[in-house]
Symmetry: C2
Subunit: 696 residues, 2 copies
C-alpha cells in the first residue's frame, strides 16, 4: 500500500517510471503489434510480463492471466494494451482491477473515425476513470524514457534514441517519432518522449506538469495541433518555463480542417489564438520541426537571464553566411547592439582593418585570434549572447578548445553554428556539446537558436514582473444583458471607465437634433440608435459632416425614414488613424483581447494581435509590437503618435469587462481613433451570450 | 593555336575545365594560402605547376618562372593567384602574357575595403581585360569541379565534395562552401560549385551561361546578395531553366545594409525587386539555405511538365507529420485536388475505413498495401506529383523496392520524405536516390520539395507561352518632358490609351468652375492644377463633395488662396476599393511595374507585387495572386469584383510607357479605383528623368 500511495502522489510515475511493465495482447507472431511491443519493452527496468488471455503460450513466455503474472512476478504499474479498439475498454477494466495504474492504448478506431468510435472512446475513458487507471492514447504510437530503457512504442527505431536532456511532447504519435529521431540523427538524446494521440485522459498539461518535477529534463519540445484544455495547460506552461524552457510548434496556420478532424477528432482552436496563449504563458514559438529542434537544442544547454531586450552579437568567420544569419535575426526582431567603443578598439587591435567590427564582427578566415575576438565581443557590456559562425577546417582555430579555455565569468555565453562536412565537423560538434556549448548546423539554424534564446529571455522577463495593475475598474459598471445596449449606452459606460468619447446627445425628435447641433461645435454626425446594429454605415444609418440646421434636419428625416426613433448627434472627431480593439470569448481559451488596424485592407490582411485576458498593462503594451503595420501609429506622414500606455489601458479594460462580466460575449470598439489628442471611441458594440455571441 | 581558339569559344572552360593548373605564390609553409591551394589542386586532371617568382624552391617542386613551367610541362589554362592584394594586378598581367586564360584571385582588400581598395580593384579588372584573362574574384574562396577532381579552394574540406548533378553558384565564397558541404553531408554531390566574391569579371550570368551547356549539371542552386547585371542575368536564367531548373535564395529581406556593403561593396538591389526579377525569369524562390537544398535536390531528379496549376497529392503513413506538410503546402499556394471518385473507390478497397482518403491519403502504418496506395494516387487523372511521407522502420514496406517496381508509365512521379534514424534511414535514402527517386528528410523538407516542383512547373508554363499582346499602344502618345504634366494632361493621355478617366474640365476662373459644375452631375471635386504636386490632399489642394454653386465658388476661392491659377473640376467617382499602380526605373533591373492596395495600412504593410517591364497580359494577371489582400478585390462585403484582365492591361500599359519613353522616370496612378463599373483613374503623376526621378 505504501508503494501504491507513492505512485498516486507521483502522478504519471506509473506511466513514465513503472516498477514493471506488461503487454496485454502479447503475440509470438513477429509482425503483430503485441509482439513488437513486447520486444520494445523487454529492456525496460523491472522487466515486462507478456499476457494474452485468449492465446496464452507458456513456451513463448506468454501468460494467460494478468493477476497470476502479478502474483508470481510482483506488482505491474504499466500495461501496453495491444488489442483492437473494441476490446480495449474491457482490457482497461481488467488491468485496473489487477492493480495496474497506467495503460497505453495504441489502437485507432475511436473519436477520429466517427460517431461509433466516439462512443467507444467515451467507454474507454469511463473504464479508465472508474478503474483509477491513467490512460495514454488511444490512437498513438506510445512513449519512451531512454534513461530507463523504457520504449513503449511500436516503432523499433525508437530503441536507437539515447538518453538526453530534451523532452518531446507531441500531439501526434508520428510527430513524436519524427522529432525524437531527428534529434537522434543530430546527436541529441531525449529525457522523455510522448505522442498523445486522442488524449482521452493523459493530456499535454498532465505531461508538462510531470516534467516540472523531472530532473532529467532541461528543455521541452512541444508539438501542438489544437488547445482543448487551456485552463490546465497555460498555468502549467507558465510554471514549467520558470525552470525549463518550452519551445512550441503549432500546426494549422492554413486550412487543414477536414484532414485534421479525421486525425484527432479534436475541436480545432484558432492557430493564432493558440500561439498567443502559449507565447503569453512563456513558450518560445517556432514555425516548423527543424526550427523546433534548433531552438530546443540551444535552450537545453544555455539560457539567458530574463531581459526585456537581450543584446545579441554575431561573430562570423565568413561574411556570406553571416549575412544570412543577420538577415533572419533582423526579421525576427532580435536586438543587435552596436558594440561599445572600448570593445571596438580592442577588436581593431586583433582584426585586420578590412573587416566589419561593429556587430556583426567579421573576422575573415578563423585564425589564432578568433578566440580573442569572441572573448572581446562576449565581454561587451551590451552583449548578452554571442553567436559564432565558422566553417570547420583543419588548420583553422580549434573552436572547442578555444571556447572551453574562456575564463571571464562576466562574459556572455556563446553558441556556435558550424558549416562543413565529414568527421571534422561531427567531432567538433560532439566536443562542443560535451563542453556544454550549443552547436547547430548552418546559418539559418544559428539564427533560429539565437532568436529562441532571446525570446525565452523576453518571455521570462514578462512573466517575472509583479502584476502592475490595480483592481479592475471594469467591475464598477454593470454590463448586464437586461439593458438594451445601443451605441450611446455603451459609450456612456466606457466613458465612465475613463475612455475618451466624443460629446453627443441622444435625440428623440427633429427639434432635439437641432438643439444638439446648436449645443455642439459643427460639424456633427448623426447616427441611428438601436441596440446591436453592426455595420451602421453599410445600413445607411450614419450621416457625417453636418454643419447647418438644414443639414441636421435632412439627416434626421432620412434616418427617421429608415426607422430611427432616436438619433445620436455627436461631435465629429478630427482625422487620425483608426484601430479596431475588442474582446471576445474563445471556445478553447476563454476571454481574449484583440487589436488591429482599422479599415478593410488591414482586416483582410489579418494584421491582428491577440492576448488572453486578464492582461497586465505591460503585456497589453507588447501587443503593438506584434502588428506588422505598427509604423502607422508612430507619426506616419505627420500623423499622430500613439501613447502605448493609453492603448494598453484600454485593452486591459476590455479584457476585464469579459473576465468580470460572464454574460458578456463580445465587446468591440470600431473604430478607436488615434488622434493628436489621444484615443477616441467613435463606435462600440457589445453582445451578450444569449444574443448569439461567440461562445457555444 | 587550335586549342586556344577552342578555349575562347568555350568561354569559361579555361576556368572550369583547364588542361593544366598553376599556383602563383606557391609556398612550402603548410598554413600559407599558396601551400593549401597547391595541395587542393594537386589531384586536378592535368596536374598543377607550383610557381613562386620571389622564393623558388626546386626541392619542394616550386618553380620561379611561369613561362619556364609552361615550356617544360605544357600549356597552363588556369592559375590560382595566392598573393596579397597589391601584388595581384601584376600577377594577372604576367599570367596573361604567359598564355594563361583564367585566374582566381582569393585575396580580400579590394572594393569591399574602401576607396583605395576600389582603385586596386579597377586596376585588377583592367589587367584581366587587357591580358585576355577571365578572372574569378577577388575576395572569394574559389570553385570546385569534383568530376575533374578540380578543387580550387583554400578550404580543404571541399575535397570531400563528391561529383553529382547539382551546380552551386553563390555570391559569397563562404555560402558556396556552406551549401556544397551541406549537400555533401546529405549524400548529394555537385557538378560545379563557385563562390563569386567581388565578381569584377566572371559574374553570376557568366557562370549560368556556362551551365546552359554543362551536361553534368541537372539543376542549379543559386545564392544571390544583389543583382547588378540584370540585363545579362535574367535572359540567361530564362535560357537555363528551359533545360535545368534554377532554385534561388536571395539575402537581404531585412536591413543588413552596412555589413552587406562591407562584404561585397556592391550596390544593393531591392530584395523584393530581385525576387520578382528572378521569379519572372523562371527561377524557383526559397527562403533559406535549407530550403535551397531540399528544393534543388528534388529538382535535380524530377521535373514536372509545364502547367499553370499542377495537382499535388500527399500520401502519408503518419497523420501528424502529414498535417505539418499539408499546412505548409497550403501556405505556399500548392494545389491539392480532391482525388477522383474512381481513385477513391480503389483506395477504399485497399485502406481501412478509419483513414482519410480524399487527399491527403492517410494509410495508417505503412504495410504491404502502401505501394498500391501510392500507385492508385499517382494514377489519378488530376495528380501530377505524389509526395509520400513515412517513417522508415524494419518490417514495414520496403519503400525503394516498392517504388522501383512501379510500372505504369502514365502515373505521376513520386518524391519521398522520410523520418527515422540510423542505418535503416541512410540505406533507404541511398537506395531511393540510386533509383532516381527524390528523398528528403522530414515533413517540412517534403513540403519544400513538392512546392518547388510545382513552382518550377508554373514558371515554365508562364515562360513557354507566346507573348499574347499586340504592339504596344504606349508609343502612340507622346510622354515627353517638355510638356508640363499636370493631373489633367496625364489623365487625357491615359484616356487616350483607353483607361477610364472621370469627366472633368480645366477651369481658369471662378466662372469657369461654376460652368463646369453645371455641365457635370453633382457632386464634383475641385483640384489644384500644377505640374507635379504629389500628395495634393495633404497640401490642401483638393475639395471634394461639391454640390452647389456656393460650394464651387468657395472651393475656387480657397484653392486660389493657396496659389491655384487653374483648377480641375471633375465628377466624383462612386466609392470602391482603391489600388495604387505604377511603373518606375529600378537602378539594377530597369523598368518595373508595381501594384498594391491603396491606403496607408496597405502601404505600411508593404503588400505590393512587382514585375519587370515589358509585361505580357498573362504575366501581369499573376500580380494579383501575389497580393496578400487580394480578397478585397473580389466582392469583399458586397464590394466590386475585379476583372483581372482589365487591371492586367493597365499594368502592361504602364510598363510599356516606361519601356518606350526612356525619359519617363516614374508614372503612378494613385488611386486607381475599382468600382462596380470597372477601374477608374482618380489621380495620376508622371516624373521625368531630369526632374529628379528614381534613376541616378
Amino acid at each position: 500500500m505504501a508503494e501504491t500511495t507513492a505512485i498516486e502522489r507521483a502522478g504519471l510515475d506509473a506511466l513514465f517510471a513503472p516498477r514493471r511493465c506488461a503487454v496485454l495482447g502479447a503475440s509470438r507472431q513477429p509482425g503483430k503489434l503485441g509482439a513488437v511491443m513486447g520486444r520494445s519493452l523487454a529492456a525496460a527496468a523491472g522487466g515486462v510480463a507478456l499476457i494474452n488471455s485468449r492465446a496464452p503460450d507458456p513456451r513463448a513466455g506468454i501468460s494467460g492471466d494478468l493477476r497470476q503474472a502479478i502474483d508470481v512476478g510482483g506488482p505491474i504499474d504499466f500495461a501496453a494494451i495491444c488489442l483492437p479498439a473494441p476490446a480495449c475498454p474491457d482490457a482497461v477494466r481488467e488491468a485496473g482491477a489487477a492493480g495496474v495504474r497506467a495503460v497505453l492504448v495504441c489502437a485507432g478506431g475511436f473519436a477520429e473515425s466517427g460517431p461509433s468510435g466516439l462512443a467507444l472512446q467515451d467507454e474507454l475513458r469511463r473504464a479508465a476513470v472508474e478503474g483509477g487507471v491513467r490512460l495514454l492514447g488511444p490512437n498513438t504510437s506510445g512513449f519512451v524514457v531512454p534513461g530507463r530503457r523504457l520504449v513503449a512504442s511500436f516503432v523499433p527505431a525508437m530503441s536507437h534514441v539515447l538518453p538526453g536532456r530534451i523532452a518531446v511532447v507531441a500531439a501526434s504519435g508520428g510527430v513524436h517519432h519524427t522529432i525524437a529521431l531527428m534529434l537522434a540523427a543530430h546527436g541529441h538524446g531525449i529525457s522523455l518522449g510522448v505522442g498523445l494521440g486522442n488524449a482521452v485522459d493523459v493530456g499535454t498539461a498532465d505531461v508538462l506538469d510531470y516534467l516540472t518535477r523531472h530532473e532529467e529534463t532541461a528543455a521541452v519540445a512541444l508539438h501542438v495541433e489544437s488547445i482543448t484544455d487551456a485552463a490546465a495547460l497555460l498555468p502549467t506552461v507558465e510554471r514549467l518555463v520558470a525552470d525549463r524552457p518550452v519551445v512550441a510548434s503549432i500546426v494549422g496556420r492554413h486550412d487543414i480542417g477536414a484532414f485534421a478532424q479525421s486525425h484527432t477528432g479534436a475541436l480545432a482552436t484558432s492557430w493564432r489564438t493558440a500561439r498567443a496563449a502559449l507565447r503569453q504563458a512563456g513558450a518560445v514559438l517556432v514555425d516548423d520541426e527543424r526550427a523546433l529542434i534548433d531552438a530546443v537544442v540551444a535552450l537545453s544547454r544555455t539560457r539567458l537571464r530574463p531581459s526585456p531586450r537581450p543584446g545579441i552579437a554575431l561573430v562570423t568567420a565568413q561574411a556570406g553566411p553571416g549575412l544570412i544569419t543577420l538577415d533572419q535575426l533582423r526579421g525576427r526582431g532580435v536586438h543587435l547592439p552596436e558594440l561599445a567603443a572600448a570593445s571596438r578598439e580592442r577588436l581593431a587591435a586583433v582584426l585586420p582593418p578590412l573587416t566589419y567590427q561593429a556587430n556583426p564582427v567579421d573576422t575573415g578566415r578563423p585564425g589564432p585570434g578568433f578566440a580573442d575576438v569572441i572573448d572581446i565581443t562576449a565581454e561587451d557590456p551590451g552583449v548578452d549572447l554571442v553567436g559564432v559562425y565558422a566553417l570547420i577546417e583543419p588548420g583553422a582555430v580549434d573552436l572547442p578548445a578555444a571556447l572551453a579555455a574562456r575564463t571571464c565569468p562576466e562574459s556572455a555565453p556563446v553558441i556556435v553554428g558550424i558549416g562543413g562536412a565529414g568527421d571534422d565537423v561531427s567531432d567538433t560538434a560532439r566536443r562542443l556539446l560535451d563542453a556544454g556549448i550549443v552547436c547547430v548546423p548552418g546559418p539559418t539554424a544559428l539564427a533560429t537558436a539565437l532568436a529562441a534564446l532571446a525570446d525565452d529571455a523576453k518571455a521570462r522577463d514578462r512573466l517575472r514582473r509583479v502584476p502592475d495593475r490595480d483592481a479592475s475598474r471594469a467591475s464598477t459598471i454593470g454590463f448586464g444583458a437586461s439593458r438594451g445596449w445601443d451605441e450611446q449606452q455603451i459609450k456612456i459606460a466606457l466613458a465612465g471607465l475613463g475612455l475618451n468619447v466624443p460629446p453627443g446627445h441622444r435625440c428623440a425628435s427633429r427639434d432635439g437634433a437641432r438643439q444638439a447641433l446648436a449645443a455642439l461645435a459643427a460639424p456633427v454626425a448623426a447616427k441611428i440608435l438601436r441596440p446591436i446594429i453592426a455595420h451602421k454605415t453599410d445600413a445607411g444609418g450614419v450621416r457625417l459632416n453636418l454643419h447647418t440646421d438644414a443639414d441636421i434636419v435632412a439627416a434626421w428625416d432620412s434616418l427617421a425614414a429608415i426607422g430611427a426613433s432616436e438619433v445620436l448627434v455627436e461631435a465629429m472627431s478630427p482625422p487620425g488613424v483608426d484601430l479596431v480593439v475588442g474582446a471576445r470569448r474563445d471556445p478553447a481559451v476563454g476571454p481574449i483581447v484583440l487589436v488591429g488596424l482599422g479599415g478593410t485592407a488591414a482586416e483582410v490582411l489579418g494584421d491582428v494581435a491577440v492576448r488572453l485576458a486578464p492582461l497586465s498593462v505591460r503585456e497589453a503594451a507588447t501587443m503593438v509590437e506584434d502588428l506588422a503595420g505598427r509604423a502607422l501609429l508612430n507619426g506616419y506622414r505627420g500623423g499622430p503618435v500613439l501613447a502605448v500606455g493609453e492603448l494598453a489601458e484600454t485593452l486591459v479594460l476590455l479584457g476585464d469587462i469579459l473576465t468580470e462580466h460572464p454574460d458578456v460575449s463580445d465587446i468591440e470598439i470600431n473604430p478607436l481613433r488615434l488622434t493628436h489628442d489621444g484615443l477616441w471611441v467613435l463606435d462600440a458594440l457589445i453582445t451578450h451570450l444569449d444574443q448569439g455571441g461567440h461562445t457555444p
